[in-house]
Symmetry: C5
Subunit: 343 residues, 5 copies
């Protein structure tokens, strides 16, 4: 039906060759029977029958897909407009007969060492779910697969579908958070164990990533809070319990992010202090070395004076005595600085 497997490593930036950038998947469930080979123009018929449950997933929507949303579902133009944008803020809008949600799938792309956030628009009605997104989102594919395999567990409630999808999305946040936590620990190690002078840029990049994740997760928490607080007529009471669970996870994630931001800013302070301390220590040692050298040079200078009468000038051991004096003074100074704990 779809050639999705080879498009899994597709990403929004960069040019790939020969990958189907688009797909549309329509599943209709009718009391234990799944149909996937449907004519999209029949959607309006299906969603009228309350015992059907329809999921339409659109990736990289084309004009004909948008037309479907307008004609078959009769969604509000504002919601459709939002669904095709790329930089919307997570939110939930309540329309007559359906909810419009914006959520983000966040993945950590190890190759590019970058976080990627993929916007996902959801239309949730009493017996339909429409998901619209640009790039592929694994959580959607997996949820659909699990629905088809565990039909009886999902029941006929659209709320369970939504829960399974959001739960999969939010569960994918945890590896991202873990990776951020690892980078915080890495930075601490770079500061305290093996000092690296360019940890600063890492701190800055990590701070940017934390800010970006927080900017997505914080409003998503609000979205879930609205869904579980407000009376949502299209969900059953039991579904709210499940969404509460997703909410708890997302609260834990924001908690973690705030903790890491706090730790990161301490790490920055620590880095600056350790860095300036190391430089100052070196300067101190060098300055002490210059004191020792100057003292020796003073001895040499004194014996370089042209007075006619100077002690030991004509003694055969004069030179050796002066060199010994230099060595003795140098050692004495070093001992003194050690004793003063300056070295």
């Amino acid at each position: 039906m779809r050639t999705r497997t080879q498009s899994n490593d597709h990403s929004t930036s960069g040019a790939q060759i020969e990958q189907p950038d688009w797909h549309r998947l329509l599943i209709c469930w009718e009391d234990g029977r799944f149909e996937t080979d449907l004519d999209p123009s029949d959607i309006s018929e299906f969603i009228k029958r309350k015992d059907h449950l329809v999921w339409l997933d659109i990736q990289a929507p084309r004009d004909e897909d948008i037309a479907l949303l307008r004609k078959e579902f009769e969604f509000h133009p504002l919601a459709i407009e939002d669904a095709t944008r790329h930089r919307e803020r997570p939110k939930v809008d309540s329309y007559d007969g359906y909810y419009f949600l914006i959520f983000y799938a966040i993945t950590y792309n190890e190759d590019k060492n970058r976080l990627q956030a993929e916007l996902m628009s959801l239309f949730v009605g009493a017996n339909f779910l429409v998901s619209v997104h640009q790039g592929p989102i694994e959580a959607i594919d997996n949820t659909i697969k699990r629905w088809q395999q565990n039909e009886e567990q999902f029941g006929r409630d659209v709320g369970v579908l939504l829960y399974e999808l959001l739960d999969a999305i939010v569960d994918d946040y945890f590896p991202v958070i873990d990776q951020l936590a690892e980078r915080v620990e890495d930075i601490e190690e770079q500061i305290f164990e093996r000092f690296r002078n360019d940890a600063l840029q890492d701190v800055f990049g990590l701070k940017r990533d934390l800010l970006n994740v927080r900017r997505i997760v914080a409003p998503e928490r609000d979205v879930l809070n609205i869904l579980i607080r407000r009376e949502v007529p299209i969900f059953e009471r039991n579904t709210i319990l499940y969404l509460q669970d997703v909410y708890d996870h997302i609260v834990r994630i924001t908690d973690s992010i705030d903790t890491y931001r706090d730790l990161l800013s301490s790490a920055l302070d620590a880095f600056l202090s350790v860095q300036s301390n190391r430089l100052n220590q070196i300067l101190k040692v060098l300055t002490i070395a210059s004191i020792v050298l100057m003292t020796d040079a003073l001895i040499a200078g004194i014996y370089g004076m042209n007075f006619e009468y100077m002690p030991i000038l004509h003694s055969p051991y004069g030179f050796a005595i002066s060199i010994a004096l230099m060595v003795a003074l140098s050692l004495g100074l070093i001992a003194f600085f050690r004793w003063r704990k300056w070295l």
Copy 2:
């Protein structure tokens, strides 16, 4: 009708020659028919008929315009007073039969490299919209033009007019935000890639701009929140959905501004650290150089001593040996500092 095109590059500061500083535009819509050639003194008649929709736009109001507001619309003296000031805070005041709003159009003037904020006062009644402002505001002109061209889309609802206007105003914020984002990135590049010593003043200027934009946008968010939360009898239920959309945009903008402020303050920390680090590195290298020079000078000093008996003093290779000793010591010291990672 108006000679507006040549007044488009007009700005509040600086002297231009021969530009019409003033205009007044009155449009009355009556079921599909626009009239623009109207006697202002008939306004009070028009707004009595509920099937009329009137938009009065006043730029750089003169005394006779203020008189119009007082006599034809019978606006409250306080609202009129606020409409003619230049430094009001965005707000919405509810009067009997109309709302008074203050909003700002923000543009980025590339020539002067400065943000410009133009105050716009709006009186919104059941079937009229009055906009008062000092300089020209493109969003107003464009919205009027679009109204005249897409009459059927706008309908007879003043709320749609208001939505179209505020949407145009807020859409114009995005390029301003993008320009601020660019400047943040520019500053980061100035810090990490090609260090510029005077990035500090840029940071300061950008911080000031972010604060100023935030000071306008944050209360505008409150204004929109009041409009969509409070029951506003002169808007239809559908209009609220549209205003919600403008609200979402402005929330996204304040989010972005807060993120950029956070990034900017990290950038400042990073700048100070990189700057002090660079200076300290130079000082370190210079101090090491002085250690090398002092060591060599000590050798010279020692052979400048006037002892009668000194080794190799009378050897023909004495000078060469001493110079070789200096070179060897210098290279040894440099190797030592390299090994200690001080260089």
Copy 3:
């Protein structure tokens, strides 16, 4: 009746000669007729008649004035006690039949370069206003004068009196805020354009002033918020609109103060950075100079060695060659440091 004009430049601190430190002014309005030559012991009679409007202004209250408040108005002992203190926080207390307000008049004393805050206690009843303060407050005098001259505009509503007074008080804040803004700009200029090493103390003083003004203005905003939100039976609905206007102004003032505090703390960061940068630049130049001098001294030291056989020692051009060598090395080093961008 009063010799107020010569007491206008009176201030709470410092000794002035021969100025009437005290005045009491009692005005009673009775449908278009003002009476000022009244026996204070008749007040209790006047305020019983609802068509009278009484304003009693007391400066530097004496025991007999306090007795008036107690006997004629029968104010609560707590309110009277608060009215005679000097360090109360702005607030509004609701008593039976009247409100007790504390507000501050803030002026900028140019001679002493200091902000002065004068506490003003107000008792606001259905048909009376009592103002108590220590030093003279221009806004009170002006409001009374305007009341006597524009009687018809004020009407018989005590709320309008209160609005006119608070509006005059708050309007006087703007020059103070402008002066603070000017000082912030002055400090920025001191940092970026012509660096002044003692800008730090200015920053500190300005911060103190901003904190003090904020400490007065923030609770005043709350006072006005209470007055316009809570149902205040002694004001007419229209009066609330006017108080809303004062509220808007005071919100704008607190906004400005917060912005200036933000800018000031950036300015402090900038100052510290610029200051340390300038010092480090100087140290860098001096260190480079010492490197050059040490190099030259090394040459001199080498030719000061006492070896029997040294090149060009006996040449007539030896000295000139060595000096030329020094000059060449110095220029070379300077060129090298320039090329490395260290100078």
Copy 4:
């Protein structure tokens, strides 16, 4: 009855000799007649009669006192347990028939230069007040004395007793705050007028004191807010007005503390800047001195070279000329650095 006078300078820490560490005072008022010589076991009888007003004050409670609370008043075990602890947070708990409050008396002990906070537990019933504390609290003694002397002013309302006590407690905070304010000013002076290098430890100690006072005062503000907001059936409406007054004072105190914390953190920034600036200034002057010395040494080094032919070497004025050259160069350099504003 009590030997309290000699126990007034008692404090919780340190060993004193022969001071009655304990006292219990029971006062019963019955329509104008005070009785102090009562059998504690009759308390349960007294508090049944609604026209009696009982105050029981216990200092350094012993087991028999605790038994009194349990048997005569039948207080809840939790409240009794809290009343005998030393580190509780200020709070108000509502039990059946009485309120349990925790408040702190704060005094500044000049001898030890330390703030002392004495926990005071209060049980407030319809016609009784029980105060429990470890060390002596002057405000309690004074309030009891004033009650006995101004019986008619207090009336039969337990709320007035509570107000008088809390007012006395909170009034004692003001000298503490003034002392903190003085220390903030002292620190500013130490920074700007006569720099003291160890001001840092003072800043730290003051910050700790401010935090500790805030930690007591902020929850006390909440306690009072609860008492005046919530309908408290055992107080008369008039009493609320009085408690509002105490609330206002405590709000003013927290305001002040926050201001001083703000000023203190600016003071810390200022201190660090001034300190580092002074050190850098010294380093700059010393570095300039070394440049001057090195220049002179170079001259000496040049004339110390062993070339056969050197100018003025054999002139009788050679030495004087060289010294003059050194002096001239030194003065020239100093003038140059002055001109560059480096000195």
Copy 5:
């Protein structure tokens, strides 16, 4: 019944030998009679009889224990899933007929110098309490022991059981907080009394611990707030009073943590300042030493010049005079620097 004594020092990390890692304890109370030797499969029978009170404690749950929860108690799958995870956030979820709570036991492991947090899941029904945890939790064991010994004090209320357990858990937080307070004081001492250069890493570790404790305690405060605010039908009114007490303690703990965080960040500032100050002091002394040495070297250099005519060159006291001059100049410079307060 259980071999718990030897498993008390068990901890989650590290390998111990031969310790029963698992236990399950089932206690049923029936009007004064305890039964512990019960068949778990009878639980569903017991909890039907309202005069029974059942506590099931499970450590390191195995599959058969999970099955018990599912079959006998019929808990919701989501709650059971949460109960077997290790990183949940403290929370309270309300299900039909029971509450699900997550709390943490925090202990300070002195051997490893580390805080350990042990997750504890609680199911609280009208007449049962189920506790699930991985490692051993002393507070649970102690509470069960106290229940069995003081049966009459606990009564038949499950709320009292919960209170006793949470109180024991929260009481165990205080030593942890005290230990954190001690470390803060220790760090202050390391900064001000005996400076230790590596206090920074301690600051960082302590900050991390404070953040981690706060992350547990803050949501626990919310949990208790929900329990005492919301009407919880399975608790008696009296129980709420007790939970209020636990709530007060946990509020005090969060207060303390916030204070320590504040003190810690001041301590960090102080540390950085003291550290940089010490380094700068050393640099200053060293620079002054170099000035003295350079001055002496200049004297030596001057007398090393090769002029034919120089004063005292041929005097027998010349050398002594020059050395005396050096000593005098050195002492003079040191006196000068002392007088300028630079030393």
